[in-house]
C-alpha cells in the first residue's frame, strides 16, 4: 500500500517539476522514487489500510510481481534520454502518465476484489491510450492510439459484463467469498458464473494480446513511440499475466472447465505469433509478433494451472522483459531514426559496436530459449510442469513453435554479425542506455546460471 502512495505522490511531483521547469532533475527524482517504492513493496509485510476489506492483498506473489514491474519501469525510464525528442516540451506529462499507469499495473497484480481488478486495468490502460498517441505529429501514432482506445474500451465491456455475471451468481466481488461460494455449492454454481469467468478471461486476454484478441497489437506497437512500445511489451504484459494467473489460481475449484478455452488460446497465440513474425520486415512489427508468441508460451502455464504456475510465469515474464528491454534499447539506439526500420538496419553492428551486438545476440537467444540464458529456464519450467500434469500435446506444439521462432531471431543475429553495414559514423549512445543494455544482459545470464534463487521469492 505504501508503495502505491509513494508512486502516486511521485507522479504528481513529476507533473509539478514540469511546471516549474526542473527538467534536469526529472529523471533522478523518478528513479529515486521508484527505488523507494521498490523497497517499500519488497519489505511490505502487513496491510495498513486494506487489511479488513481484502481489496488489495500484498502476498508473496504480488510482492514479487510488483517489484518486477517497478524494476522494469525503472529500466524503461533509463532508456528515455535521447528517445523523447518528440516530446521535449511535455516530457514530464508522459513520465507522469507512465507512473500512473504503473500504479494500475500494481493494482492488477495485487487485487483481492474484482472492483480493484477493474480499476487497476483501467488505471493501466487510460494513460497508455494517451501515451500511444503522444507523438501527435505522426499519423501512425494517432491511428494506433485510436485503435487501441476503441478496442480496449470494447474489451473492457466484456470484462465488466463478466464481473457483473460473477456478481450475479455469487453475490460478491470479494475473491474469498466467491471461492467460498464455489466450494459450498460444489459444482452447482449457477451457469452465470461460468460464462462470467469466461468473459473476464476474454477481457484479460485482450490486454495480454492473446490470439484471437491480438489484432490491435502489431499496429499499436508499430505506431506508438518506441519508448512507449517498450513499456507496453514489458510492463503491460507482466501486469496482464499477473492478473490472469492470480485469477486462475484464485481458489476456484472448477477452473478446469475453462481448460478448453485456454488450450485453444495458447496454441493459437503461439502459432500465429511465431508464423506471422517470420514474415515481417520491420523490426518493430517482428518484435510485436514475437511478444504475442511469448504470451502464448505463458498461457501454457495458465492452461495447466498448478501450484507452480505463479512462479513459472514470474520467471518467464522476468526473462522475457529483460530480453525485450535490451532489444528495444538496441533498436532505439541503432535503427529508430529510419522511416522503415527493417532488419537491414542492424547490418554490421558487430563491427561498429561489438559489445552492444553481443548483448543483443544474448537477448535474442534468451527469447528463443537457448541455455545459459534466463529465457531457457523460463521455457523449461513451464514445459516441465506441463509435462508433469500430462499435457503433452501442448508442449509438443510449443517446442515446434520455439524452433520456428529461432528462424527470425537468427535472421537478426546473422544481420548483426555476418553482413556488411554502411560505414557511417557510429551513433553516440547515452550512458544510461549502456547501463540498461549491459545490466539487463548481466541479470539475464545470472538468472540463467542460478534460476533457483528466484523461486525463493515465493
Amino acid at each position: 500500500m505504501s508503495a502505491i502512495i509513494t508512486l502516486s505522490v511521485l507522479g504528481i511531483l513529476v507533473l509539478y517539476l514540469g511546471i516549474f521547469n526542473f527538467k534536469k532533475v526529472l529523471l533522478p527524482v523518478i528513479l529515486l522514487g521508484l527505488t523507494v517504492a521498490f523497497v517499500l513493496l519488497a519489505t511490505n509485510t502487513g496491510n495498513v489500510l486494506a487489511a479488513d476489506m481484502h481489496m488489495l492483498v500484498f502476498d508473496a506473489p504480488a510482492r514479487a510481481f510488483g517489484c518486477l514491474l517497478i524494476l522494469i519501469t525503472a529500466g524503461v525510464f533509463c532508456l528515455t534520454p535521447g528517445n523523447m525528442e518528440y516530446a521535449t516540451k511535455f516530457r514530464q506529462d508522459v513520465f507522469g502518465l507512465m507512473i500512473f499507469s504503473l500504479i494500475g499495473g500494481i493494482m492488477m497484480i495485487s487485487y483481492g476484489n474484482l472492483i480493484t481488478l477493474f480499476l487497476g486495468i483501467e488505471t493501466l490502460s487510460i494513460p497508455l491510450y494517451v501515451m500511444v498517441g503522444s507523438k501527435r505529429s505522426d499519423l501512425k501514432s494517432n491511428e494506433a492510439a485510436m485503435k487501441y482506445f476503441l478496442l480496449g474500451a470494447f474489451a473492457t465491456g466484456f470484462l465488466l459484463l463478466g464481473i457483473a455475471l460473477i456478481y450475479g451468481a455469487t453475490g460478491s466481488f470479494d475473491f474469498r467469498v466467491i471461492a467460498e461460494q464455489c466450494l459450498t455449492l460444489q459444482g452447482n454454481v449457477s451457469s452465470w458464473f461460468e460464462i462470467g469467468v469466461l468473459l473476464l478471461l476474454i477481457g484479460l486476454s485482450f490486454k495480454v494480446s492473446a490470439a484471437p484478441f491480438h489484432f490491435w497489437a502489431p499496429d499499436v506497437y508499430d505506431g506508438a513511440p518506441t519508448i512507449v512500445t517498450t513499456y507496453m511489451s514489458t510492463v503491460v504484459k507482466i501486469a496482464g499475466f499477473g492478473a490472469l494467473v492470480r485469477f486462475t489460481r484464485g481458489g476456484f475449484p472448477d477452473m478446469h472447465v475453462f481448460g478448453q478455452f485456454t488450450f485453444i488460446l495458447a496454441i493459437l497465440t503461439m502459432t500465429i505469433g511465431n508464423f506471422v513474425a517470420t514474415q515481417q520486415k520491420s523490426i518493430k512489427r517482428m518484435l510485436a509478433y514475437s511478444s504475442i508468441a511469448h504470451a502464448g508460451y505463458m498461457l501454457i502455464a495458465i492452461h495447466c494451472s498448478t501450484n507452480a504456475s505463479l512462479v513459472n510465469i514470474f520467471i518467464y515474464a522476468f526473462a522475457y522483459s529483460l530480453a525485450s528491454l535490451v532489444m528495444f534499447g538496441v533498436f532505439m539506439a541503432i535503427a529508430d531514426k529510419y522511416e522503415l526500420a527493417d532488419i537491414d538496419s542492424f547490418n554490421g553492428l558487430s563491427k561498429k559496436n561489438p559489445l552492444v551486438a553481443i548483448c543483443a545476440a544474448i537477448a535474442l537467444l534468451s527469447m528463443a530459449g537457448i541455455p545459459i540464458t534466463a529465457g531457457f529456464f523460463g521455457k523449461y519450467y513451464i514445459f516441465a510442469s506441463a509435462i508433469d500434469s500430462n499435457y503433452f500435446l501442448i508442449v509438443i506444439i510449443a517446442m515446434l513453435n520455439s524452433l520456428v521462432s529461432l528462424y527470425y531471431y537468427l535472421k537478426l543475429i546473422i544481420a548483426m554479425f555476418f553482413k556488411e553495414g554502411s560505414n557511417d559514423v557510429s551513433e553516440k549512445i547515452p550512458a544510461l542506455h549502456y547501463f540498461v543494455i549491459f545490466g539487463c544482459t548481466a541479470l539475464n545470464i545470472l538468472i540463467g546460471l542460478y534460476p533457483n534463487n528466484l523461486m525463493m521469492l515465493f
Binding site: G11, M53, K89, F90, I103, E122, V130, W192
Partner: protein, 166 residues
C-alpha cells in the same frame, strides 16, 4: 404491477438499443440512446436504486449525450464519408456476434437465480446508504479511482493542447 413494468421497460430498452445500432442517421442513434438510458433508469428505480437512477439521467442522458450530439454535429457525418466494409467482414462479424448471443442466451436460460437474502428496503438506494458503503467497504477503490481521473485529465490536456510540437 412490478413485473409488467419490468417487461415493459425491458422491451423499450432493447428496442431502443437496437435502434441505436440500426439507424442510419447518427442523430437518431443518439436520440435512441437517450431513450435507452431513460428506460434503464426505470429499471434502477424498480430495484430501489433511486440515486443511481437520477445520476444516470443527469450524467448520461444529460451531460454525455449533449457531448455526443456536439461531436456528431461537428464531425458532420453522412453516408458518403462512411467507410464501406466488405461483405466477408460483415458475415464474420454477424456470425461471431450471433454465436456469442446464442451462448449467452443458452447459459442464462438454464440458470437458476440465487436467492436474495437481504431485506428489500426502499431506503437501500438513498445517498446515505450509498455513502456508507462507499466510504467503508469500498473506500480504497474510491480513493484509487482518483489516480485514474487525474491521469485521464492529464491525458486529455496533453492530447488537446495546441502547438506542443517539439
Amino acid at each position: 404491477m412490478q413485473a409488467a413494468l419490468f417487461y415493459g421497460l425491458s422491451i423499450v430498452a432493447i428496442m431502443c438499443a437496437c435502434g441505436v445500432v440500426v439507424s442510419r442517421n447518427p442523430i437518431h442513434s443518439v436520440l435512441f440512446l437517450i431513450l435507452t438510458f431513460f428506460s434503464i433508469s426505470g429499471h434502477y428505480i424498480l430495484m430501489n436504486a433511486q440515486f443511481i437512477a437520477l445520476v444516470n439521467i443527469i450524467v448520461y442522458a444529460g451531460a454525455i449525450m449533449v457531448l455526443f450530439l456536439f461531436v456528431v454535429m461537428l464531425l458532420n457525418l453522412n453516408k458518403e464519408s462512411e467507410p464501406h466494409k466488405s461483405d466477408l467482414v460483415k458475415i464474420i462479424a454477424a456470425t461471431s456476434a450471433g454465436l456469442f448471443s446464442l451462448v449467452l442466451v443458452g447459459v442464462l436460460k438454464g440458470a437458476t437465480l440465487p436467492a436474495y437474502e437481504g431485506m428489500m428496503d426502499s431506503e437501500n438506494g438513498l445517498v446515505k446508504n450509498l455513502g456508507r458503503v462507499l466510504f467503508q467497504e469500498f473506500l480504497l477503490p474510491f480513493e484509487l479511482s482518483s489516480i485514474l481521473f487525474l491521469s485521464a485529465m492529464v491525458g486529455a490536456v496533453l492530447l488537446g493542447k495546441k502547438n506542443v510540437q517539439a
